[in-house]
Amino acid sequence: MQLNMSSEKPIFLQFAEELEDNILKGIFEEETQIPSTTEVAIKFKINPATANRGVNVLVDEGIIYKKRGIGMFVSTGARDKIIAKRKNAFYESYILSLLEEAKNLNITKGEIISLIERGCHNEQN
């Protein structure tokens, strides 16, 4: 896990996204326990209140749940929820900024598409 402290994004959101990344990658599997906020706070030297806020974001979204006195667990269907959420954000955070930079560089629509195809091709090999 890597938190970027110089990023403008609030630390609790970065932390929430890190947890999501680990769920997406399957490092934290559904219905398994994840590290407690105190463990995480010590490991990453962040204020426990901040770690708690990050966790609560995911609890509110039903991605993780708390078992009183035991700890925190990844919900069933958490991965699908994260994927759905991120697909919605994909257009705003990737496509729009890609188009803006392309405009600055006078890259045409056709060129963008062929660049994407090249990327996909390289990925496959």
Partner: protein, 287 residues
């Protein structure tokens, strides 16, 4: 659990007003960052809370009791001291023993464990410690003191990156195991930001801001682009910093990011960005 109330505290040194009518409440069990430039009044404020200095006017209350000449109250507070308060030939290990006399809950075993982690030689004389190790020595005393309020005045002064990281980790561990009120004054803002819950900014002896870290980050934003358009946008706004390069201009605006009219910025073809904590504090404390 200790609540600190600072009521209308002023401090004058000859003709200098080091603190001007400071009012501040520190809630129990939170970690505060005290930020400000050299000479802004950070140390003076910490010294008044810990009864090392007397306020010229106003009062400091700890759990409702006065902090002045009150042993009962001062036993709850640990404030990082300067080197020269220790007897000339005192060794580190005697300094540890000595501190235990003042703090009944002092944890000697923990102090030695910390000395071991920081590789502090406890047989050395305190006066012979380097700047970095002097900081290590005093921060160990603070962490082990068992006090419910710890005031760290530039705890990482002279510490190398490894020891700074170790300190932040030990601080968080200590805080989780035994919640307490912690105030840290430091110039290494970005490094400490994630450890803090609240930020207090002091400028020329006055508290100009006291807010949770996440709120502070929303207090300002940056607009950039063509300089005439930036000027047009910022005309009636509170600009706290400007940088220009040729026709390019970036202005830091002191206005809550939630209240920003993003459309008008886009219409002008300007870019909007959030500000980093350190940048914001620099802008706010510039003269």
């Amino acid at each position: 659990m200790s609540r600190i109330e600072i009521r209308n505290v002023s401090k004058n040194f000859n003709k200098t007003n080091a603190l001007k009518n400071v009012c501040l409440a520190l809630e129990p069990n939170k970690i505060y960052g005290l930020m400000g430039r050299n000479g802004a009044g950070k140390t003076t404020l910490l010294n008044i809370i810990s009864n090392k200095l007397f306020a010229s006017s106003g009062e400091v209350l700890i759990d409702g009791e006065t902090a002045v000449e009150n042993d009962n109250v001062q036993a709850k507070i640990f404030c990082m001291a300067e080197k020269n308060i220790y007897p000339v030939n005192m060794k580190v290990k005697d300094g540890i023993k000595w501190t235990k006399e003042f703090y009944p809950k002092f944890n000697t075993k923990y102090a030695y464990e910390l000395a071991n982690s920081f590789e502090l030689n406890t047989d050395k004389k305190i006066k012979d410690l380097s700047t970095g190790y002097n900081s290590v020595f005093t921060l160990i005393l603070g962490l082990a003191s068992g006090a419910s309020v710890i005031l760290f005045d530039e705890p990482v002064l002279g510490l190398d990156a490894n020891h700074r990281e170790l300190f932040y980790r030990e601080l968080i561990t200590n805080y989780i195991e035994q919640p307490k009120t912690i105030v840290i004054s430091t110039h290494l803002i970005d490094e400490i930001a994630e450890v803090l819950e609240e930020i207090i900014i002091i400028k020329d002896g006055e508290i100009i801001l006291s807010e949770p870290v996440d709120k502070v980050l929303l207090l300002g934003y940056k607009v950039s682009g063509d300089c005439t358009k930036v000027d047009k946008y910022t005309k009636h706004k509170n600009v706290i910093r400007e940088e220009t390069m040729g026709r390019f201009k970036a202005a830091t605006v002191y206005q809550n990011l939630d209240n920003v009219d993003k459309e008008s910025i886009e219409l002008l073809g300007l870019e909007i960005a959030t500000v980093k904590l350190q940048e914001l504090i620099i802008s706010l404390t510039n003269s």
